[in-house]
């Protein structure tokens, strides 16, 4: 958890409280989201801990990308997707890993990751300063670190060759 704290310090916080329904302010919020995400990826690279890429649709309401975990020198990659909820940023986005749907109990229907009891209170205390980059660093990151090794051990997640042609 100490690691998460130090990572968190380097991710820029956001300023604008606006969701996709705030037509005027949402573009500004979206800019801040991207700025924070870009810095976050740069930090990860600098720390030799590059672990996700993300992009959005034009409106910034749908996000998709990839995240990956290394285990025994093998790279396990997963698709990420999520929508920005109507009540964002009061409520955090619900991150979905579609490939893992139904493979672990630490997930809600549809492949939504089941976040720790600490995540939501932490998010709530930091509205509107936390953004997507924080949801990834504090939500998805720790989830992957705990769940993926276990899923690999259980044989539920299998290593796939890089070029995924059958």
């Amino acid at each position: 958890m100490e690691g998460t704290k130090s990572i968190l310090k380097t991710i820029p916080l956001l300023k604008t409280k606006a969701g996709p329904r705030d037509v005027d302010l949402w573009p500004q919020r979206l800019k801040e989201e991207y700025q924070s995400l870009i810095q976050s990826v740069k930090n990860n690279k600098d720390n030799d801990n590059d672990w996700f890429r993300l992009e959005s649709n034009k409106e910034g309401t749908k996000w998709f990308g990839k995240c990956w975990v290394f285990q025994n020198q093998l790279k396990y990659e997963f698709d990420i997707e999520f929508d920005i909820p109507v009540t964002y940023p009061t409520t955090a986005p619900e991150i979905v890993l579609p490939e893992l749907d139904g493979k672990t109990a630490k997930m809600y229907r549809g492949g939504k990751i089941c976040l720790s009891d600490h995540f939501k209170p932490l998010w709530a205390r930091n509205v509107p300063k936390f953004g997507i980059s924080h949801a990834l660093a504090l939500g998805l990151g720790p989830w992957l670190a705990v769940e993926i090794p276990e899923l690999i051990v259980r044989g539920v997640v299998k290593y796939k060759e890089k070029d995924d042609d059958k």
Binding site: K15, E32, Y34, Q39, D83, P85, T91, P121, N126, V127
Partner: protein, 444 residues
């Protein structure tokens, strides 16, 4: 034939089964177009489905039971609590029910009430509508298999709330039977915008606590006014095993919560009894804490502030005392052969509450003390209700008093950190456009 083939055939059969069920379901609404809504008769005969409900009127509990036909209730989430809620209202002969849920029935839901194993795979709203129509064809049922938290579907949700009523009017009440904070906050946003009254309901993830909360925008705290109020479960978080599971559930707790929810819905719609603002249920102690939370003048939802303003003006304009004591109907019996008289039981009630308090207090206080430093900004908005069994101060001015927040209740977490953020840690202003940034991100 390989094992794979067998699996495929099995899948096909499942698929056909579902299609067949959905087809049979879509036929019933067509029939119901021709179906005349039965008269709500008070006649006491075995063949009258409404006789026992209309008896409420004869007994003087409800003034005009038939009014229930005029009302439209929206149920968001037809899972463990929502489906039972829908069934109860259907059996009560509600005018119209509108159901929202994006989920499917799963075998893992079978520890709850209402759904049946054969319905697994159907959308919850479809399965619910099938069963409910069979139970009481007089009730109009409208379903939406959508997720209201998505921007695209939220607009539809707003439209339905405004025009979904029986005669194209706004709906009368919204019942939140969802299982997550995001959906609750979405309903809150919609109801604040439309000034619609709603009930929030919930069951804790450990399945042994539940609550209902009546929210009148502007008059009582909205869902964004304070962190969610929850029932203290007396379970130490540290000893709660969360390995490999997200949530537990019990049909009992869900049934109790659905019962409390519909009871208060009926009281609200048909104007009888007193509606609970917040009513908690602690299954381990059989304890029902209750209280009222006032709206937060610093609520982050701008529509909540607008409704608060409207409510203040309304109170000034029409200073009617809502809680006026109604003259009690004196029942005079012709004879009293056995000398039966009613005993005043108010003292007994108080005593039992005191005992309950002592068992619950320890734990809840400990939890609250933990967060006490961060609670300052919510103190002002909390006040206890003036109910018979809870006698607390109505204005809470300091932390100590705040800690005496009705026993057995606590906030799910401390509220937002309002301290100014160090400029250094914020994103810097930029002249780049969103597209520039998106391109930059793609190059990483």
């Amino acid at each position: 034939m390989s094992l794979e083939d067998v699996e495929n055939i099995k899948k096909h059969i499942e698929h056909f089964k579902k299609t067949l069920m959905e087809l049979t379901e879509t036929q019933s609404p067509k029939e119901s177009v021709e179906h005349k809504i039965r008269e709500m008769s008070a006649e006491v005969v075995d063949s009258n489905p409404y006789s026992r409900l209309m008896a409420l009127q004869r007994m003087g509990i409800v003034k005009n039971y038939e009014d229930i036909r005029k009302f439209t209730v929206v149920i968001v989430g037809v899972g463990g609590v929502g489906s039972v809620t829908a069934e109860m209202l259907t059996r009560c002969g509600i005018g119209k029910l509108i159901l929202f849920d994006y989920d499917k029935v799963e075998l893992a839901n079978m520890n709850r009430l209402f759904y049946q194993p054969a319905q697994a795979g159907l959308s919850k709203v479809t399965a619910a509508s099938m069963t409910l129509t069979r139970i009481n064809p007089d009730v109009k049922i409208e379903t939406y298999n959508t997720n209201i938290t998505l921007t695209t579907q939220f607009e539809e949700f707003l439209r339905v709330l405004q025009t979904g009523g029986i005669s194209g009017n706004r709906v009368d009440l919204v019942l939140s039977c969802v299982d997550n904070y995001e959906a609750r906050m979405t309903i809150n946003t919609a109801c604040n915008e439309l000034a619609l009254e709603w009930f929030e309901s919930g069951v804790s993830e450990n399945a042994v606590c539940g609550h209902i909360q009546y929210i009148v925008p502007g008059e009582s705290a909205c869902f964004a006014c304070a962190p969610p109020l929850v029932v203290a479960s007396e379970i130490d978080e540290k000893t709660l095993k969360k390995d490999g599971v997200c949530a537990a559930s019990l049909p009992t707790t869900m049934g109790v919560v659905a019962g409390l929810l519909v009871q208060n819905t009926l009281k609200k719609l048909l104007h009888f009894g007193t509606i609970s603002w917040y009513l908690g249920y602690n299954a381990l102690a059989d304890f029902f804490p209750s209280m009222m939370i006032k709206p937060n003048p610093n609520c982050t939802d701008s529509f909540c502030l607008k409704r608060q303003e409207e409510f203040k003006n309304r109170v000034i304009e029409e200073p009617v005392c809502k809680n006026e004591e109604l003259p009690e109907d004196k029942v005079i019996h012709k004879d009293n052969e056995w000398g039966i008289s009613l005993a005043d039981d108010s003292i007994v009630v108080n005593q039992s509450i005191v005992t309950d308090k002592s068992t619950v207090a320890d734990n809840s206080t400990a939890v609250l003390l933990d967060n006490s430093s961060e609670l300052n900004n919510t103190i002002e908005l909390v006040s206890t209700s003036i109910t018979k069994n809870v006698s607390k101060n109505t204005s809470i001015k300091n932390e100590e008093e705040y800690l005496s927040l009705n026993d057995g209740l606590e906030f799910a977490y401390s509220s937002a950190d309002k301290t100014a953020t160090n400029e250094e840690t914020l994103v810097k202003d930029t002249d780049l456009t969103v597209d520039d940034l998106r391109a930059q991100m793609a190059l990483l």
